[in-house]
Structures are given as structure tokens and as C-alpha cells.
Symmetry: C2
Subunit: 256 residues, 2 copies
């Protein structure tokens, strides 16, 4: 049996503990190519680099293993890996493990999830993994067998067309994880605040801060699953059409 | 009657002809606040700036009109406008007019559309406008009455909860536009190529290029509408859950 070709990326940068963990798990499952940002790219969403040149830096080449850093975004990493390194499609793209939850509306801002969505736009089975802990020293010791299981299942069965998985892992609560739940994205939002300051030249500047609000805690949501020590899997697609509102919008008066 | 408060932004930068056109139309409809990027932010998707400070530059303050440039992304502009300038919600957010189509999968990469989506996450009626012409000297002379009509209709009737509009305008074909069509997002993708070069220090670098492929040209798509000289309106939402695949994904073996 040929070993599957697995592309690994993230948005926290190539040296983040989360991606190092993911790489170690993936090397058990297949031949691994890592192309990940050379600096943190959190909050980059589905950004691509159109106006400046991209560069790749070779970090490691071993048998069945290649690792590169890239000066671009997570989505750039996926595109560049396929076109300039693999010169074809991998069997699986995994992104993460993100330091911090990408449940609920965070999918919209996340570079980790954008990389998985980019994979599914291109027809590759893709999964984004995130741990519900923003800390750089987050504890990833309890997730190995779950990540391995999820990837094996996807490698074996494939994913429906134009669909990728958003997998959120609960923090290590010391007890066994309750299992895996298939969920929908919870409705929630960030209420931002801007910390306004003066620089040494007396000019104003602002730091983005924010508090996360979720009033949608139904049992079928990713937020509920995470809070209740389940792994949340949300199947995602990139058709943003609000199909349920096509009729309402059509009923407006659009005649000139 | 109080005049509505309208926030205008874009991703091509505050000095782009497209936003200048949009500002001129909006000033007829309400009190206008412009907060737009100080440099091109195309392809920035839903990126936000978390690791560096944001700055605002006052460009113009007149009665019923304020204009600022910002060093952040289009989504930063929306957040900062609401929190640091308006200190509340505007009645309408309009983004664009983008130089280039944001039909089909382009919604995922577009900073223009991300700004509108950000508005709808925050519960504000929001519309992204794009012209199917990438040129800086694109002809915007044929779109005024349509943009005015669309904004008036949205100001009067509002939009369904968590829904914004993605409006794509056809190029000026010299003949009257055929009208407005409510559409779904066409399935399409970019097939990227990377132009690999050597810099003067003999180091490799890559330019992202690409060709757009669409084999989904059904009559209910935004791509079809644009090609047939209609204005395409797609209602968008930010729930990326592939609801139609929840059952399939649930049927996989997720037991450890």
C-alpha cells in the first residue's frame, strides 16, 4: 500500500507547539510535507498575497518528510505547497493544531480554517484542528488518538464534495474526553473594544481587544460540545449564499 | 426625518476611484463616515490585525461628512469606525465599489465582502459592491441609479437577520443594464500558477498568478447574471456549516 501524502500547515507559525504535535501524529500515517508560515498569521482569515513575492525556506528534507517555512499566509502555504513543491494534490491537508478555539464565528477570522477551506475549494480532503486554549504552552497530551482516528477515517472514506472538517478539541480537563460530536457552527460574536493609547510622539494608536459572546448554546453546536468535554466536528463549505433568504430578498422591489 | 448614518469602506484603498464613486452616491442618501484602508488590501479576506497597533488618519471633516484612512484591513476599518469614531452602529455599511468581480468563490478571498460580512455579524445592514472590471480606470458611469436604488430599498426594508448582500455590477457594455437578479454564488475556483523567479541575490521567489475556472453557469448564479448584463445580488451569511452534509458526516465511525 502506498502511504498517503499529507500536507501540514497552520497559522501560528512553523515553530508553534501545536503544529509540531500535528506533524508527529501525521508522520505515523503517511509521507508528510510541511509548508507553514514563518511568523504568526493568526486572524489572517482567507488572506492571500497578491502584491508581494512569496518565498519558501527549506528547513528539513528526510526520507518521507519535507519541511518548509513560507513568508505568506496559511492559504498561500497551501497553494504554494501544491504548485511549487508537491506539483499535484496531496491526499490530505491538515491545518493546526491551532492554539485557541476556532468554534463558532471564529471560522471566519481563522487562518487555520482558511487553509482547510482552501484545500476543499481545490477538491482535497482537508481538516482544521484547534485546541480550546490560546496559550503557547497549551497541553496537547490528550488528543493524539482522536486526531489519528479522525484522519484515518477521512483518509479511508473521503469527505463529501466541497466539504472540509473544522475540529475543535477541548482543553485537558484531566478526565477522558467524552467523545466526538458532529455539530453546527454556533452563533456568536466578538464584542470588540479598542485600547486607545498615545505613542512617544503623541500620536494616537489602537489595540484591538474583545470579548466573545455566545447566546447560542444549543446542544447541537460546537460551543456546547467543547464546553461539555466533547470534540466538536463541524463540516464546513464555502458557499456563503444565504439560501434560506433568497425568497425574501427576491420579494423586495428591485425595479428601476 | 433623520438622515441615515452610512459607513463606507473598501479594500482597494481610500483613494480608489471605486470608493470615491460610492461616497458620492452615499452623500445623497445620508450622513457619511468613510473609514478605508490607506493602502490596497485586496485579497485580505476576513483578516484582522491582532499583533500590531492600528492608526487612523483624519482626511476630511465637514458637516454630515467625515473621512479617515486606516493602516489596517477592511474588517479592522469596520470595527474601528464603530468603536472609535461612530461609537455605535451606523444604519448602513457599504463596501466598494471594488475594482473587479466578487462573484462566485471570490467572496472567500475578498476584503470588500469581508467588510460587509463583518457588518452583518454585528447586526448592521451591509452591502458589498463590485464592478466586473479590475482596471483602476474602470468605467463606473452606468451604475449610480442602481446602487442608489439598492441602498434605498435596504434602508427602507432592512435585511433578514445575519444576512448581507453581495452586489456585482456588470461592465459598461454601452447598452442599458438588463436589471437586477437575485442569485446564488456560482461554484468556481482559481487555478493558480506561481511565476518562479530569481532575485538579484540568486534567491528564489514566487508571484501568485491564476486563471479563473467556472463550470457552473446555471441561470440562477451570479456568474450567469454578470455575463448577461444583469446586476447580481447574492444574499450572504456567515454560517459556514455544510448543513446538507451533517448526516453523512455523522454516519462515519467516530468511536475510539
Amino acid at each position: 500500500m502506498t502511504r498517503p501524502k499529507i500536507l501540514v500547515t497552520n497559522d501560528d507559525s512553523v515553530d508553534a507547539p501545536g503544529i509540531r504535535k500535528l506533524i508527529s501524529i501525521m508522520r505515523k500515517l503517511g509521507d508528510v510535507i510541511v509548508v507553514a508560515p514563518d511568523k504568526p498569521q493568526s486572524g489572517m482569515g482567507h488572506a492571500i498575497t497578491v502584491a508581494s513575492p512569496l518565498r519558501l525556506k527549506k528547513i528539513c528534507i528526510e526520507e518521507n518528510y519535507e519541511e518548509y517555512s513560507c513568508n505568506g499566509t496559511p492559504v498561500d502555504c497551501v497553494k504554494l505547497a501544491e504548485k511549487a513543491i508537491i506539483k499535484g494534490k496531496p491526499d490530505l491537508i491538515v491545518s493546526g493544531i491551532n492554539h485557541g478555539s476556532n468554534a463558532s464565528v471564529n471560522v471566519v477570522y481563522s487562518g487555520t480554517i482558511a487553509a482547510a477551506l482552501e484545500g476543499c475549494i481545490e477538491g482535497v480532503n482537508s481538516i482544521g484542528f484547534s485546541l480550546d486554549d490560546y496559550s503557547w504552552s497549551a497541553d496537547f497530551s490528550h488528543v493524539d488518538e482522536y486526531i489519528e482516528k479522525i484522519c484515518k477515517e477521512v483518509l479511508q472514506k473521503g469527505l463529501p464534495e466541497y466539504t472540509c472538517l473544522n475540529v475543535n478539541l477541548p482543553v485537558n480537563k484531566g478526565s477522558q474526553i467524552n467523545g466526538i460530536k458532529i455539530c453546527r457552527q454556533a452563533r456568536a460574536r466578538w464584542d470588540e473594544a479598542f485600547d486607545a493609547r498615545k505613542d512617544p510622539h503623541n500620536q494616537d494608536y489602537y489595540w484591538l481587544t474583545g470579548v466573545f459572546y455566545s447566546d447560542d448554546i444549543a446542544e447541537d453546536t460546537d460551543q456546547w460540545a467543547l464546553k461539555n468535554n466533547y470534540i466538536a466536528i463541524v463540516p464546513l463549505h464555502f458557499d456563503l449564499t444565504a439560501h434560506h433568504n433568497l425568497k425574501t430578498i427576491s420579494s423586495y422591489d428591485w425595479n428601476i
